[in-house]
């Protein structure tokens, strides 16, 4: 597909469109405008860009004040600072007021390797998932990032989007649909399904290619929205892969599914997903609770690493 480009570049491109189309869009940054790409907006619409300086907590709450006054606000920094340092502001001011604040943080994960410990952030997704009312999105390429930012702007309420710094492959296409909460199947394959987000989607596609040469059909799902999670896609994939697997693998699938459905991953402010019902009449492993049949199957199967691999 298209040329390699940094995921963060999609943010800059989307902001440019948003700034042109919507006078209500305001962008904040904390002295990292070039790195996050909010600089693209700053250069085009300087009157609606505010640098908060190296003061992230104040930036997040400035965003709240602007949002509660009717603005659609994007606020950017590195993932570690935006979510780590400001978690309590995000919880007690952004989420508590359902403010229309979009936190778009670059340098997520380990992709800033050379900068070392202080700049790597593997915790942001977990931190943001715990805050009610926040949608959490991890786009897999620059194009999806652009669509995600545009979709976030259309949606009312708090959104967290993680971007990344290195150039990575474009794995989606212009016509690939994007909707918050709806995952994208990028590669078919029923033996096993690999579910990934962000830069790991490219790695998952590579792995699927390797598996194909070994005779294993691996599907790849781009789970760009971590919250609300596309539980239906996870379950559909689990069911398909289960039908091809050993009883032990079924048990693991059931475990996954029960964990997914025990607590709906969606909070009440969002459209709820339909809970999976017993459609197949396969009463041994559906519906919940799963504990008894799962144990039966576990003890009935001879456990070997092969089963796990085949899952």
């Amino acid at each position: 597909m298209g040329t390699a480009k940094a995921i963060r570049d999609g943010y800059g491109e989307a902001l440019l469109e948003l700034g042109r189309d919507d006078r209500n869009v305001v962008v904040l940054d904390a002295d990292l405008a070039e790195s996050t790409r909010s600089s693209v907006f700053r250069d085009a619409y300087p009157d609606r860009f505010f640098n908060a300086g190296i003061a992230e907590q104040n930036m997040i709450n400035m965003a709240v004040g602007l949002a509660l006054s009717g603005k659609t606000v994007f606020a950017s920094s590195f993932a570690i600072f935006a979510t780590g340092r400001c978690w309590e502001q995000l919880r007690n001011s952004v989420a508590a007021t359902r403010a229309n604040v979009k936190v778009v943080a670059s340098h997520g994960g380990l992709t800033v390797g050379p900068d070392g410990l202080s700049h790597q952030c593997v915790e942001d997704i977990s931190l943001m998932r715990t805050i009610p009312h926040f949608a959490v999105i991890v786009p897999c390429d620059w194009l999806e990032a652009k669509k995600a930012v545009l979709a976030a702007a259309r949606m009312k309420g708090p959104v967290y989007i993680r971007t990344a710094r290195p150039k990575t492959a474009q794995v989606t296409a212009e016509e690939t649909p994007f909707a918050i909460g709806k995952s994208v199947r990028l590669r078919p394959g029923d033996d096993v399904t690999i579910i990934a987000c962000g830069v790991m989607v490219e790695a998952a596609l590579e792995a699927a290619g390797d598996l194909a040469s070994g005779g294993i059909a691996a599907g790849v799902i781009d789970m760009h929205t971590i919250k609300p999670l596309d539980a239906q896609a996870v379950m559909a994939a689990a069911i398909v892969s289960r039908s091809r697997s050993s009883p032990m693998a079924w048990a693991l699938v059931d475990l996954t599914v029960s964990a997914t459905t025990a607590r709906p991953p969606v909070d009440s402010a969002r459209p709820t997903m339909t809970r999976h019902e017993n459609r197949s009449g396969d009463s041994k492993c559906w519906p919940m609770p799963m504990v008894a049949p799962m144990n039966q199957k576990t003890s009935a199967s001879s456990i070997s690493s092969l089963h796990v691999v085949r899952l």
Binding site: V26, D47, R48, F50, A52, G53, A55, Q57, N58, M59, I60, N61, M62, A63, V64, G65, L66, A67, L68, S69, G70, K71, V73, E88, Q89, N92, S93, A96, T97, R98
Partner: protein, 285 residues
């Protein structure tokens, strides 16, 4: 000058001051009743901010209680959110919601939670309770006002202990940097926080000098003298190219003799007998 101010300026005479004092007395009594009924809450910091809030809501704020989301309204953020009972009593008195809500203060699911929840209470601009965040929100609201070419003002009430929070000074820097002269911070300088006197805990003094150093215009007043409060609010409203800080000397627990300047009345409710004595002092039975 807006309509409310013209009217009030005309009336800043003895009888109007007496009217405000009488209102504040009633608000204090309501604060005591509410907290006593709830069985928990923060009487000290609620009582010290009553006169400031009374002056704002009944003499200076340009607001429409029947239209709380009116875009042109002045904004008031209670950054020291634990003083919520004072704000609730005033909002109820203004007619933002029925006073029957007072009876359910701090109850599970009620409109009036222990700290102000903007999603529940008409008239509450943003949710507070975690100290140190309100001024930043005020900076954002003042910036939005400028972008929208509206002339509303933004007031933020902070505690003196709250000034120990770093974010307050991040916001102070931002407000001066963006020359937000429609933003006014009011410090409830009652000298006490939870663990004791501010100078024994983490001394934020000299307070006026700090605001000045951060690029703000500063004035110091007696936060229980309505003439001084209103003059300070009018002084703050002038166009000066910088934000204004009013450092208001107050007495924690003001109006109830046994609570005044007592650190142990920061966060405990009066028992029935104490409430009776407090209400008697406030001229209610």
């Amino acid at each position: 000058m807006r309509e409310t101010e013209r009217a009030a300026a005309r009336r800043l005479n003895d009888s109007f001051v007496r009217e405000l004092e009488e209102r504040a007395r009633g608000i204090r009594a309501e604060v005591v009743r509410m907290i006593a009924r709830a069985g928990s809450g923060h009487p000290g910091g609620s009582l010290s901010i009553v006169d400031i809030l009374t002056a704002l809501y009944f003499a200076r704020l340009n607001h429409r209680p029947k239209d709380p989301r009116w875009a042109g309204r002045d904004r008031m953020i209670l950054s020291k959110g634990h003083a919520a009972p004072a704000l609730y009593a005033i909002l109820g008195e203004c007619g933002y919601f029925p006073k029957s809500e007072f009876l359910k203060l701090r109850r599970f699911g009620a409109m009036l939670q222990g700290h102000p929840d903007a999603t529940r209470v008409p008239g509450v601009e943003t949710s507070t309770g975690s100290l140190g965040q309100g001024l930043s929100v005020g900076v954002g609201m003042a910036l939005a006002g400028r972008l929208d070419r509206r002339d509303y003002r933004v007031y933020v009430c902070l505690g003196d202990g709250e000034l120990e929070e770093g974010e307050v000074w991040e916001a102070a820097m931002a407000a001066a940097h963006y020359r937000l002269d429609r933003l006014c911070a009011i410090v409830d300088f009652n000298g006490l926080q939870i663990d004791g006197r501010i100078q024994d805990t983490l001394n934020p003094e000299p307070i006026p000098a700090k605001w000045k150093a951060f690029g703000w215009d500063v004035c110091e007043i007696d936060g229980h003298d309505f003439r001084q409060i209103i003059r300070a609010l009018d002084w703050a409203a002038g166009p000066k190219g910088k934000p204004s800080a009013i450092v208001a000397r107050t007495v924690k627990g003001k109006g109830v003799s046994f609570m005044e300047a007592q650190v142990n009345w920061h966060g405990v409710a009066p028992c029935a007998d104490e409430a009776r004595r407090a209400l008697a002092e406030l001229g209610e039975s």
